[in-house]
């Protein structure tokens, strides 16, 4: 009798959780169908082609890994090693390199405003939206063949599991267990392909609650803040390594960004 009562009690709870999950999925699908991320892509394309800086040049000759001017699919093969800078770079750090090399702008100027707000988005956010949009449908294939890529991947993995800060947190504290979520957001297990693919292929993303497109560098930066870590430098070695680790773990999945988040 007692067992039956428990069973009766448990069933509606279970059904409720399933319903909630379905409703969340429906909501996310509706968000994705009309995403303002597309507006960021349009602005980004215009900025990509706009001549500016002391050299009055556009970014159209920027080498994102496939050669100068090759944008299609480039994001799916980032981060990667670049010979000219002799380091592994993600999209954001590579864009900064191109702004300096092609447009002649100094780093202080290009890094002055990397995270925008809803009233005034940053140039970086627009450019990132454009470049990642050009990789839609391309399979994730961030390389790990060069020794520096290997080292970057290993460093990223170490960062992912490294516990530190006031709360003794690591990335894995939130992203290391199946079927966890915070409010409406699923917390994918980012150290496993399924979870990494789901997350990585939908970032960068337009955040409805911020009315703004957020970059991967912002995502990592904000995770550091949530873990109560010291704020990382934009496009620093550790943030690129962490991005690299996630990108490599997401290997094989078709890129589907820029995404839309709550």
């Amino acid at each position: 009798m007692k067992g039956l009562a428990l069973l009766l009690l448990a069933f509606p709870l279970w059904a409720g959780a399933q319903d909630a999950k379905k409703e969340i999925e429906k909501y996310q699908q509706m968000l994705g169908e009309g995403s303002p991320a597309e507006l960021w892509e349009l602005e980004g394309e215009a900025l990509w082609k706009k001549a500016q800086g002391p050299k009055n040049a556009s970014l159209e000759k920027c080498d994102l890994g496939g050669g100068p001017g090759k944008v299609a699919g480039a994001y799916a093969r980032l981060p990667r090693y670049f010979k000219d800078t002799d380091q592994v770079q993600d999209l954001e750090s590579r864009l900064l390199t191109c702004m300096t090399a092609l447009q002649g702008r100094d780093r202080a100027e290009t890094t002055k405003r990397l995270f925008g707000n809803a009233d005034r988005p940053s140039e970086m956010e627009y450019l990132v939206a454009y470049v990642v949009g050009q990789a839609r449908g391309h399979k994730m294939a961030a390389p790990v063949s060069h020794p520096k890529e290997r080292a970057s991947y290993e460093l990223g993995k170490k960062v992912f599991f490294y516990r530190a800060g006031n709360w003794d947190f690591s990335c894995a504290s939130c992203h290391g267990e199946q079927d966890k979520r915070i409010r409406m957001q699923d917390l994918p297990v980012l150290s496993e392909p399924a979870g990494a693919q789901k997350a990585y292929t939908t970032w960068p993303a337009y955040r409805v609650s911020n009315s703004q497109l957020k970059t991967m560098q912002w995502r990592i930066n904000d995770c550091y803040r949530q873990m109560r870590f010291p704020e990382p430098e934009f496009a620093s070695e550790s943030t690129i390594a962490l991005t690299h680790y996630l990108a490599v773990t997401a290997k094989g999945a078709p890129y589907n960004g820029p995404g839309t988040k709550r």
Partner: protein
């Protein structure tokens, strides 16, 4: 200058003669509300035209989100129909976009 707009118009309902045309349009706009400490700035009128004929005349309020997305379903329609969507805000700024039904 007003930011970009993006629109997609597709036929639906199957068969040779489409039963309806789905229009989806994205707009860049701050849609500032009375709650923010900034000057009011929001879209007031949205107009949808099909081959030059006004099909929808909408009056919207501050309750609509920043960078809004609208979808409309128009009766009938054919491939190549010209769909035009325009907006007018409380400051008199305006923007429009035109596309042919795919």
């Amino acid at each position: 200058m007003a930011g970009p707009m993006k629109m997609r118009a597709t036929l639906g309902g199957g068969g040779t003669a489409a039963a309806y045309t789905d229009v989806r349009v994205l707009m860049t706009h701050p849609m500032t509300t009375a709650q923010s400490n900034q000057p009011l700035h929001f879209i007031q009128n949205v107009t949808v035209k099909q081959n030059g004929k006004t099909m929808v005349e909408a009056q919207i309020s501050q309750a609509v989100s920043r960078n809004p997305v609208f979808t409309f379903r128009l009766k009938g329609g054919a491939k190549g129909d010209k769909i035009e969507v325009s907006w007018l805000d409380n400051k008199g700024e305006t923007n429009s976009i035109e596309t042919a039904v795919a």
